[in-house]
């Protein structure tokens, strides 16, 4: 890896003057890496408490992180050009896998999301989270920007196909995330405001028919519960009541590390996975929330910075989309746990326990690093 020849046109970077360091040779974005490590450490500290002081859980998560960072480093070594070239093939492969899920997939809790190959389970939808922005960016990068109607239509088909295949699994949350990642590419590509406004208006107009005919009962229930958790105290509302209680009872200072009663006494469900932010809020208070948000914001800003400094439209669009998708994770998770958004299965990125999303996210950061180092190193 790394001994292929970079082919992107050099656009007169002043970086030429510097000697390529070891860091730049392995395509690492130091500020991003430091922020990610900081977040990882914070996350593991919270996880230790949220998992009921289980060192095993922390070790397992640490292993995922180790694996994730290796994947990130590998992803950082691949040139943008190669990503662009691979994108359509990965896309076709991903779609095939999604179709396969429909027929031979395995699942749990009424949802069919996994493929099992040689005893190894994987979730094709996770791969699509990265592939969709890549393929839409690849599609748009060859055309004039801002995108015309044909470009928009093509993009929508590219992001719509996997979104639809995932929605029938059913996994509305992931489907929306994937659709969003493709739409973010369009947004970064300069999609005209009047089209954006029109789309928003259409979305608003279709809300009622979607509610009536599109959403399943349990999905409607989640939305209703968000507005009035007390209506179903011991059922769907329980999670929200208990997570709000956990957050609120943390106050400014928090109850202290390992002192979360809501989680320790099992009042808070999913305390080490989707609802881990509630444990953080309970133990570390608003201070802890601000610290976490600070780290997240710095990571997001670094992502945007990388996008702005990307050498190609492909890089810009991918960087912008990946950063915005990362933000959506944060927003949706923190919002749902605090009762602002309906409960959907979105983990708190890089903090919630669980390997799959973590590895996908870190792979995404690997792509960001590839973009970052490409822009600075130019042709090495």
């Amino acid at each position: 890896m790394g001994d292929y020849v970079r082919q992107l046109p050099h656009q007169g970077s002043h970086d030429m003057a510097r000697r390529p360091s070891v860091v730049s040779r392995v395509h690492i974005d130091i500020p991003l890496l430091l922020l990610l490590l900081l977040l990882t450490f914070y996350g593991l500290v919270v996880l230790y408490s949220a998992s009921g002081q289980s060192m095993a859980a922390v070790t397992r998560q640490g292993t995922y992180f180790a694996l994730g960072y290796v994947v990130m480093l590998l992803a950082a070594q691949i040139s943008l050009q190669r990503y662009a070239r691979l994108a359509p093939w990965l896309y076709v492969l991903g779609l095939t896998a999604l179709v396969a899920v429909v027929f031979v997939g395995v699942g749990a809790k009424g949802a069919q999301r996994w493929l099992e190959i040689g005893g190894f389970r994987f979730q094709p939808s996770e791969i699509l989270k990265l592939v969709v922005p890549l393929v839409v960016a690849w599609f748009l990068a060859g055309r004039t920007l801002p995108p015309g109607l044909f470009s928009i239509g093509g993009s929508l088909v590219l992001l719509g196909l996997p979104a639809m295949l995932i929605v029938i699994q059913p996994d509305l949350g992931t489907s929306l995330l994937i659709a969003a990642s493709g739409l973010f590419v369009l947004f970064m590509a300069g999609l005209r405001w009047r089209i954006i406004m029109l789309a928003l208006a259409l979305a608003a107009a279709s809300a009622w028919p979607a509610w009536m005919y599109g959403l399943k009962d349990y999905q409607k229930q989640r939305i209703l519960t968000m507005f009035d958790p007390d209506s179903d105290k011991l059922g769907a509302g329980w999670n929200i009541i208990q997570s709000k209680t956990a957050i609120g009872s943390g106050g400014w200072q928090g109850k202290g590390w390992l002192q979360s009663t809501q989680s320790r006494l099992d009042f808070l469900p999913e305390s080490h996975t989707d609802f881990i932010i509630a444990v953080l809020a309970e133990e570390h208070g608003l201070q802890g929330i601000i610290l976490l948000m600070g780290i997240y914001l710095l990571i997001l800003l670094r992502g945007f910075w990388i996008g702005v400094h990307a050498q190609t439209n492909f890089g810009r669009m991918v960087a912008g989309s990946l950063t915005l998708t990362f933000f959506v994770y944060i927003f949706v998770n923190m919002g749902m746990v605090a009762g602002l958004l309906p409960v959907v299965g979105v983990p708190l990125p890089l903090v919630s326990a669980g390997g799959t999303s973590l590895i996908t996210l870190l792979a995404g950061f690997g792509i960001l690093m590839a973009i970052s180092t490409e822009s600075r190193n130019g042709a090495v």
Partner: protein, 615 residues
């Protein structure tokens, strides 16, 4: 694949991308700000609300039921205590399928319909993690069975619980009353906090009257428990305050003597200390095993008690209302003396019958049937009492009139509840013209006064009232409210004294003489008691005619004649010089006073032989 950019497009695109990035950053900061505002609202603005809620989640108040106070007799004999009993409870939350669990339990031990019914009622009222009692009083065997099968009985717990126990069964059943499971109505009436964790409450008798004293104060512990209700640790504990112990004035030995003397007859005995009002014995037979009620009596047991022709649940000593018969005569004598209508020396001619002036109807003296004539040509008060002369009291009653009779008899406690410290007491009837008009809407007829003079007719009194009246007589007018409880936790209770009945010593002496003659006189109506007696006893016999069959009576043919026999009554006090005990006795359908009087001898013997100095 890489398009040829011209410079202009490239700049445009770069600008578009720059502006989109700025917009994206603004959007991100705005939305993160929104989230932060939400967290600020929860953690700072509404902190108190959620802190309280979290505490409430975490900390649970668990009741620690108090131990019920014990009950002793005057000599420290234990009459009611608490014994450990094993209770089978179910924690609903830990049971997957309640019906399945119940049917599995039914395969192991007997669970009655009633148990199930009570269980289901309680289940609907309690929290999922609270153990709900299903079966009480598990036997050794049942506990062993449960222990062996524990692995497949998730959510089934066996707990030790203190249960009320009455070691003397029938002997004290009417004196003490009993506790029973708290009923639906009682749940409403009782202080819910105070009775958390307590399964039973006093239902009748002393157990009910002194419920507040016996119950104690509930304690609490604050426990930290998890979402499944499992207690993790005790944070704070306020111990319950044990109920206070009661020391009764009842004497086990007198109670035993009275109970044994009554045998299998229906009747009641009340003995009390004339100067203090302490009740020394209170027996009503037949009794019942009060232990049956402690955990909810079964329908079979209850029906058997309720439907028995002997009405064992009826407390004859305080609820029974009987015509006092001739036992009223000493009190009538005092009424006569106080009214000035007679003197100790004045006499009445006794031909064996009496008739009202201008009326041919003859009111017969009981002696007429036996001797064919009266007690003596002229009968004075002492003789009238000793031989139970009816004519003397017919004449006195007529002259006294019914209303003045009521006025003079009232201070002896007739016609009103005595106010004894137990439940369900009845006050009997002391007839008067007003009473008859109010109760029956009829005028008083002069003939009715005559029979009232010998305690027949409308007048009714309970054995307790007879004992109280006898006590007033024995103490020469001292009047106390009778009471069963002498001390609470060793501290004596104050005695409530009533205004004494003032009368010249001569009056008392005359009546005492007459009553002494009843037992010790040659022609005394209870002279059968005298042989072997070591003290002087004053008494008065009585017989009450049974006009109808007693209420609730279900009887068979063979019983009819027995149940038409007269009630035997007897009142007494002793020793005559300085009385320390007064008794009132009734034996239903005893045939006559001779059924009742030997009981007095047994009870007074037991009292005077055991504690000559007491009282």
């Amino acid at each position: 694949m890489l398009p040829q950019f011209d410079l202009k497009d490239s700049q445009l695109e770069s600008r578009i991308f720059g502006s989109r990035t700025i917009i994206a950053i603004c959007l991100v900061v705005l939305l993160l700000g929104l989230i932060l505002v939400r967290y600020y609202a929860l953690q700072i603005t509404e902190y108190e609300v959620y802190r309280t809620q979290s505490e409430r989640n975490r900390v649970q108040l668990q009741p620690l039921p108090p131990k019920r106070g014990l009950i002793y007799d005057r000599n420290g004999v234990l009459l009611a205590d608490n014994r450990p009993s094993y209770v089978l409870s179910i924690v609903r939350e830990r049971v997957d399928d309640l019906d399945l669990a119940l049917s599995e339990l039914q395969g192991l031990l007997s669970i009655s319909e009633r148990d199930l019914e009570n269980f289901h009622k309680k289940v609907s009222r309690s929290r999922p993690y609270e153990p709900v009692p299903l079966r009480f009083r598990l036997t050794e065997n049942e506990r062993a069975l449960l222990a062996v099968n524990r692995f497949r009985l998730s959510g089934v717990v066996v707990e030790a619980q203190l249960l009320r126990h009455y070691p003397h069964g029938e002997l004290f059943s009417h004196a003490l009353g009993y506790v029973g499971r708290i009923s639906e109505e009682e749940v409403q009436a009782l202080d819910e906090t105070d009775y958390r964790g307590t399964f039973y409450v006093g239902k009748v008798g002393i157990e009910k009257f002194y419920e507040d004293v016996l119950h104690g104060d509930v304690g609490y512990q604050n426990v930290e428990s998890n979402a499944h209700g499992r207690v993790l640790r005790v944070l704070e504990r306020f111990l319950p305050v044990t109920g206070k112990d009661l020391t009764l004035s009842l004497d086990y030995r007198l109670q035993r003597a009275a109970f044994d003397a009554l045998g299998d007859r229906r009747g009641a005995v009340v003995a009390l200390s004339p100067l203090s009002g302490e009740v020394l014995a209170l027996v009503s037979t037949p009794g019942f095993d009060a232990n049956l009620f402690v955990n909810g009596i079964s329908y079979t047991d209850y029906n058997a008690l309720r439907d028995s022709p002997d009405v064992p649940l009826f407390n004859r000593a305080i609820q029974g209302s009987y015509p006092p018969g001739s036992t009223i005569k000493p009190f009538m004598a005092m009424a006569g003396l106080q009214s000035g209508l007679v003197t100790p020396e004045s006499t009445v001619p006794d031909p064996g019958w009496y008739s009202l002036p201008g009326d041919s109807h003859r009111y017969r003296d009981w002696i007429l049937r036996i001797t064919g004539t009266g007690h003596a040509p002229l009968v004075n008060m002492k003789m009238a009492i000793a031989e139970s002369c009816d004519v003397y009291f017919y004449d006195l009653a007529r002259r006294l009139t019914i209303d003045r009779m009521a006025e003079y008899l009232h201070p002896f406690g007739f016609g009103a509840r005595t106010g004894v410290d137990t439940t369900s007491e009845r006050g009997g009837i002391l007839p008067s013209t007003d009473w008859k008009r109010d109760a029956m809407g009829q005028p008083w007829y002069p003939g009715e006064t005559i029979s009232a003079g010998i305690g027949q007719g409308y007048m009714l009194a309970s054995p307790l009232q007879l004992a109280v009246a006898t006590g007033v007589m024995a103490s020469k007018g001292q009047r106390q409210v009778p009471h069963l409880v002498m001390a609470v936790d060793g501290k004596p209770l104050p005695v409530t004294s009533l205004e004494p009945l003032i009368a010249p010593a001569e009056y008392w002496e005359t009546i005492f003489d007459g009553m002494r003659e009843v037992v010790h006189g040659r022609k005394g109506t209870a002279k059968a008691l005298a042989p072997g007696i070591t003290y002087e006893m004053a008494g008065k016999t009585g017989t009450a005619q049974v006009i109808g069959i007693a209420q609730n009576a279900v009887y068979n043919e063979a019983d009819v004649s027995e149940r038409h026999r007269h009630h035997g009554l007897f009142i007494a006090f002793a020793p005559v010089e300085a009385p320390t005990i007064a008794v009132g006795i009734i034996v239903e359908n005893g045939g006559g006073s001779s059924a009742a009087s030997p009981i007095a001898r047994d009870v007074i013997d037991a009292w005077l032989s055991s504690s000559p100095a007491d009282g």
